[in-house]
């Protein structure tokens, strides 16, 4: 649907602009990337590196949200698999209470008025996009509801591992999905992700409370 919509829009744009003088993809990319390099400021130069795309992000930036080729999808999955690191302790499920707090924390690491938002740790951002415990109202819906996550799946090691990996780098399972690669990009630490796993799985966690 989105693809079709995009195709129509592109066709319309081409008609208006006239094909002959229309910039090609490489030229557009070069001009846009040059704009990116000149349009942002940061308190320290290293923070400007955040604008640079890694290989996966480049593949996942299809105009119009167009479909990946099989090769592209396979490459993103492969890069994602290779990126996943586990906590040194080996424990994939931490403290659900710490996880609950993280899941409801949307702050950390933003840049405003020439300052980096420095905190002890970054928030997990979950609440922005996912429904969490039953009855919570102030939750987003960009991602699937996680209400009853553990109650439905159980608490086996396999479920814990899968859940951990989906948070660390979900592109290993769903290449280029909307879900940020929270561990792989360094937004969250392995320990924080283990807390989130516990929050999702633990039978005592509010997320698994009966509605």
């Amino acid at each position: 649907m989105r693809l079709a919509c995009w195709t129509i829009l592109a066709a319309a744009a081409l008609t208006v602009a006239g094909c002959s003088s229309y910039p090609d993809q490489a030229a557009t990319r070069a001009s846009a990337e040059s704009m990116v390099s000149k349009s942002f400021t940061a308190p320290t130069p290293d923070l400007l590196k955040r604008l640079e795309q890694d290989r996966s992000q480049r593949i996942c930036s299809k105009i119009g949200g167009a479909r990946l080729t099989q090769e592209e999808a396979a490459e993103v999955v492969k890069l994602a698999r290779a990126s996943i690191q586990y906590p040194p302790s080996g424990k994939l499920a931490g403290d659900w209470k710490a996880g609950e707090k993280l899941a409801h924390d949307g702050a950390g690491d933003r840049i405003q008025f020439g300052r980096l938002e420095k905190r002890k740790e970054n928030g997990g951002l979950c609440q922005n996009c996912h429904a969490l415990a039953p009855g919570e109202i102030n939750v987003g819906n960009i991602g699937p509801a996680l209400t009853g996550y553990g109650a439905q799946r159980g608490t086996s090691d396999a479920v814990a591992k899968l859940t951990y990996e989906r948070i660390y780098n979900g592109w290993a399972y769903a290449p280029c999905s909307n879900m940020p690669r929270l561990g792989a990009t360094g937004h969250l630490t392995p320990e924080q992700i283990a807390h989130l796993v516990a929050y999702l799985l633990d039978p005592a966690s509010p997320i698994n409370r009966k509605p």
Binding site: L9, V36, S39, R50, N141, A145, V159
Partner: protein
């Protein structure tokens, strides 16, 4: 093993289908809309239109000049219908400019203000009385109220800006892996309780281009498109979008062109 497979299948499915299926989601809409309507019906943003008008006609700056000689594309001082054709190419600067970057040009060239000073003050602190540019941008856009957005891409530089804007709309980067699409690519999505505009639909993008500048309830001031874009990049954990930068103008060109046909109605009211 069976558990793993089932878990994986559930997750994979959840990524493919529209979220919200399967599990009951709280539907807060009904209890919220009445509040939104009550706020939008009486929009404090209206209070800034007069201020913008005064600022436009006042002799100000080191050169003690008004902005009446500023050309927003339809001739010096002609404001009716100017906003619906912006961004556009200006030969005097040899650039594609949106309303706000054009205002900066005029405040520098005609009034003698220093560019850095204007840009540093352009986005006002929340809870302040607002900036000159915010009031001016609202006043000038309000002179196109009731008119249809009609941005053209006739000039090669306008095409280039549009194409760059489109590319940037879908460009993912940073530690959240976001482009504009992640939040604005589907209908009926929210970040927490805040509705997100579906910008890849004609209706959604038209809603955007028709309602900025807008009064932002949480900030108690009028905000502009430049601020809207700046704030998105902030949430994306990216560096700060420079005011009136090419990236901001490219994205605005892309969105305004997509929104052609939208009937301007400012100030909008945003949460």
């Amino acid at each position: 093993m069976a558990v793993v497979r089932r878990g994986f299948a559930a997750l994979a499915l959840a990524c493919l289908v529209t979220p919200g299926t399967g599990l009951a989601q709280v539907k807060p809409d009904a209890g919220i809309t009445i509040g939104r309507q009550m706020l939008a019906d009486d929009n404090p943003g209206e209070l800034w239109i007069e201020q913008g008008k005064t600022l436009f006609h006042q002799k100000r700056g080191p050169k003690s000049a008004s902005l009446e000689q500023c050309d927003f594309g339809l001739g010096a001082g002609k404001l009716e219908g100017a906003s619906v054709r912006l961004p556009r190419y200006f030969s005097d600067t040899d650039r594609v400019q949106d309303l706000e970057s054009r205002l900066v040009t005029c405040m520098v060239e005609l009034q003698g203000f220093k560019r850095d000073d204007i840009v540093a003050r352009a986005i006002s602190p929340a809870g302040s009385n607002g900036s000159d540019i915010e009031a001016l941008a609202l006043y000038i856009t309000s002179r196109s109220n009731g008119m249809k957005m009609s941005v053209s891409l006739d000039h090669p530089k306008e095409q280039e800006m549009y194409m760059a804007g489109e590319y940037l709309f879908f460009r993912r980067s940073g530690q959240t892996d976001f482009s504009c699409l992640q939040c604005h690519g589907d209908a009926d999505k929210r970040i927490r309780l805040q509705d997100l505009v579906h910008m890849t639909s004609k209706k959604g993008v038209q809603e955007v281009v028709a309602t900025w500048p807008a009064y932002r309830g949480a900030h108690f001031v009028v905000r502009t498109m430049q601020w809207r874009l700046y704030d998105c990049f902030w949430q994306m954990r990216l560096p700060e979008l420079a005011y009136a930068s090419d990236v901001s103008i490219a994205l605005t060109t892309y969105l305004h062109y997509q929104g052609n046909g939208a009937v301007i109605k400012v100030p909008g009211f945003k949460r």
